[in-house]
């Protein structure tokens, strides 16, 4: 007798499934990474131990990891809030650049005697506004003519990238340091630089964690958040209930853009200390999308997932010192992305061998997969 796999949609997946599957996916990704390392002739156990030591073991390693996690938390939140409404903001990358451009403008333009609190506050507001407006370039067409926001946000990334490159490499703009022969951004004055807390960790991490808690509260504890989640689950039901899907679409994408832009403010003020296109284009926006997927769009989940991914990145330089290819870092991130994406199937469906499986419920049409299809139709 041959046994076959049987797939049954889960009507509802409990917390064990919702958190257990992504966690198992992480483990699978690390195992796959170990195999690739072994094939390339490295000792995977030594590699992982080195990575752990370099990123999470001890306070100074931890501060480096948290410094890297700061913008990731913010772009992760940006993707997560949009996912909650089943809107895709793939434009975190571009919104981050806009945040960095606007914040560095304010930091350079305001008098150097401005008290730091006002200076940083103004930079945050300017950056968030710029990011929100940039996101609205995709949100308004989405809300009014249902233009696919995946494509529009994606395309706007490259427009923003060229704009930022032009400001530093292509012109003698206000942002560019005229004294240096190599194109680079003017250095921000001291009062526009986020104070360091310990090592490279700066107050951006506090902003990021506060943003995560606020976003969780907004989504879970307010009626606005409830409406967002309802629209995400079933836009038709939400419309029958009298919710303004159009207004919410614009609001959510603007909020998402603002969060991604704050990541740009934090980077430009806390890390690069001037508009430095090369340092800012390290896939922070794209990585935020992975983070939101792994965290299942839960703002509080975004924080540990970001720290975990940042830990992998931090350990790259240490790997090099023991003769392991530093590119394994990016490879591991990609593997995690893949396995967690694949894991989504096991969250939505129950897979079992025939014979042992109980036949699926008769009303299969109420499965989550169907809802997805309807929502995107």
């Amino acid at each position: 007798m041959t046994s076959r796999l049987r797939v049954t949609p889960r009507g509802f997946s409990g917390p064990g499934v919702r958190f257990g599957v992504p966690f198992s996916a992480l483990v699978v990704a690390l195992l796959l990474g170990a195999i690739i390392l072994a094939v390339a002739g490295n000792d995977p156990i030594e590699a992982y131990r080195t990575m752990f030591d370099a990123s999470l073991n001890g306070w100074s390693s931890m501060t480096r990891t948290l410094a890297l996690a700061t913008p990731l938390i913010l772009t992760g939140l940006a993707a997560a809030v949009a996912f909650q409404m089943r809107v895709y903001n793939i434009g975190g990358e571009g919104q981050l650049y806009l945040g960095a451009i606007a914040a560095s403008y304010v930091g350079l333009a305001l008098p150097e005697t401005t008290p730091m609190v006002f200076m940083l506050g103004a930079m945050l507001v300017a950056g968030a506004t710029a990011g929100a407006l940039w996101a609205l370039l995709a949100a308004i067409p989405k809300a009014f003519v249902n233009a696919d926001e995946i494509i529009t946000t994606l395309m706007l990334n490259f427009v923003a990238l060229s704009l930022m490159n032009w400001l530093i490499f292509g012109s003698r703009s206000f942002w560019r340091d005229p004294r240096r022969p190599v194109p680079s951004g003017k250095r921000l004055p001291e009062n526009a630089i986020m104070p360091e807390l310990s090592g490279r960790m700066h107050i951006g991490i506090i902003i990021a964690v506060v943003a995560a808690v606020l976003l969780w509260w907004l989504l879970q504890k307010t009626s606005w958040g409830f409406q967002i989640r309802t629209i995400g689950d079933s836009p038709r039901a939400a419309r029958y209930a009298g919710m303004s899907v159009r207004g919410k679409t614009m609001a959510v994408l603007a909020l998402s853009g603002a969060l991604a832009a704050i990541a740009g403010v934090s980077e430009v003020s806390g890390v690069t200390k001037g508009l430095e296109p090369v340092a800012l284009t390290s896939n922070i926006g794209f990585t935020g999308i992975i983070i939101a997927v792994v965290a299942r769009s839960n703002p509080l989940g975004v924080v540990p997932v970001s720290i975990f991914l940042a830990a992998i990145t931090t350990s790259g330089s240490r790997l090099q010192s023991i003769g392991i290819n530093v590119q394994v870092v990016l490879l591991l991130q990609g593997l995690i992305f893949l396995t967690v994406t694949a894991g989504e199937f096991f969250v939505m469906n129950k897979v079992s061998l025939t014979g042992s499986a109980i036949a699926g419920p008769a009303d299969d049409s109420s499965s989550p997969a169907t809802d997805v299809a309807e929502a995107t139709a």
Partner: protein
């Protein structure tokens, strides 16, 4: 302005268009079956590194392109498993291909002693046609001066148009992309079609990446494609999923590369960064315009089932 410069910039635009064209044609086939694969950039990088490696080992352009194509197929099949069999979110899966592709290609490119980063290009790319044709004034360099791959690109456009519009397989593929349930009822295997179409798309992107690496750039660098894969994504939308328009668009985008230089000679000062924005602004506007006007949408819009997973149980 010097005529020679103009002729040479047109000729170089055609060469620069070729990798974009291969990637875009592949993506059109994939999309027409209802599968969205945003991972072109990652598949091109895999094609580039594998193609460069194979080219170094064999010295053969053909081997480099075929190996590169299969490098792209490898990643595309991962996408097919995720998007078609496991029915996960195709956007997320496509983005993960970009990250995996850039990670894996950089890993392969920097592994080994000596690594591919320091390797010299062993593939020699020669013009296809005899010098009598190539030396003709103007049309010689523009039309007849290219290597075989450029001409294969044009043939691929013809072949893709023919297969999509005039063969039962092409009809089946489009049926799967427009109405998978009806196609399924007509006895077409949706899963098989989508796997094949996704693999073909990966092959196109892989060949494009390999050509870019061995024939245009001539060395391997991490992240060598530098956004060309995304231009191909934009191009497919601009072309309204039609191979001929993709050819025109690829030529236009290839031309943007050298346009800054040409414009400078013509005393027109447009920063190259603004030229680089053009394909993306154009794709952005086209998506909005197509969405806004229902009549044009009927002619230009995406395959109806694009990016929607198909499950028999959900019919």
């Amino acid at each position: 302005m010097n005529d020679t410069v103009l002729i040479l910039s047109i000729a170089s635009a055609i060469v620069a268009a070729t990798p974009i064209l291969f990637a875009a044609l592949g993506e059109i086939i994939t999309n027409r079956s209802g599968v969205m694969n945003l991972g072109i950039e990652g598949m091109m990088l895999m094609g580039g590194v594998i193609g460069f490696w194979a080219g170094n080992g064999t010295g053969s352009l053909t081997m480099a392109l075929i190996a590169g194509g299969f490098g792209g197929v490898f990643l595309a099949l991962i996408h097919a498993v995720l998007a078609v069999t496991l029915r996960v979110d195709q956007t997320v899966s496509g983005l993960s291909l970009v990250i995996v592709g850039s990670g894996l290609s950089s890993f392969i490119g920097t592994s080994g002693e000596p690594s591919l980063l320091s390797a010299r290009n062993a593939v020699e790319v020669t013009p296809l046609l005899p010098s009598a044709l190539r030396d003709l004034p103007a049309v010689g360099p523009i039309l007849f001066g290219h290597d075989i791959v450029v001409y294969i690109g044009v043939l691929a456009v013809i072949a893709a148009t023919y297969v999509l519009n005039r063969t039962p397989q092409g009809l089946a593929l489009r049926a799967v992309g427009e109405d998978p349930a009806a196609a399924d009822a007509a006895g077409i295997s949706v899963v098989k079609m989508r796997y094949i179409a996704t693999a073909v798309g990966g092959f196109g992107a892989g060949v494009g990446g390999a050509y870019l690496t061995v024939a245009i750039v001539g060395t391997w660098q991490n992240g060598l494609t530098a956004g060309i894969g995304w231009i191909a994504v934009a191009l497919v939308i601009l072309a309204g999923w039609r191979p001929w328009l993709a050819l025109l668009g690829a030529l236009a985008f290839g031309g943007l590369n050298g346009l800054g230089f040409t414009l400078q000679l013509a005393q027109v000062n447009v920063p190259s960064d603004f030229l680089k924005m053009m394909p993306f602004i154009a794709a952005y506007l086209v998506v909005i315009l197509v969405s806004a006007s229902p009549n044009r949408a009927r002619r230009l819009a995406a395959p109806a089932a694009l990016a929607q997973p198909y499950s028999r149980e959900d019919r």
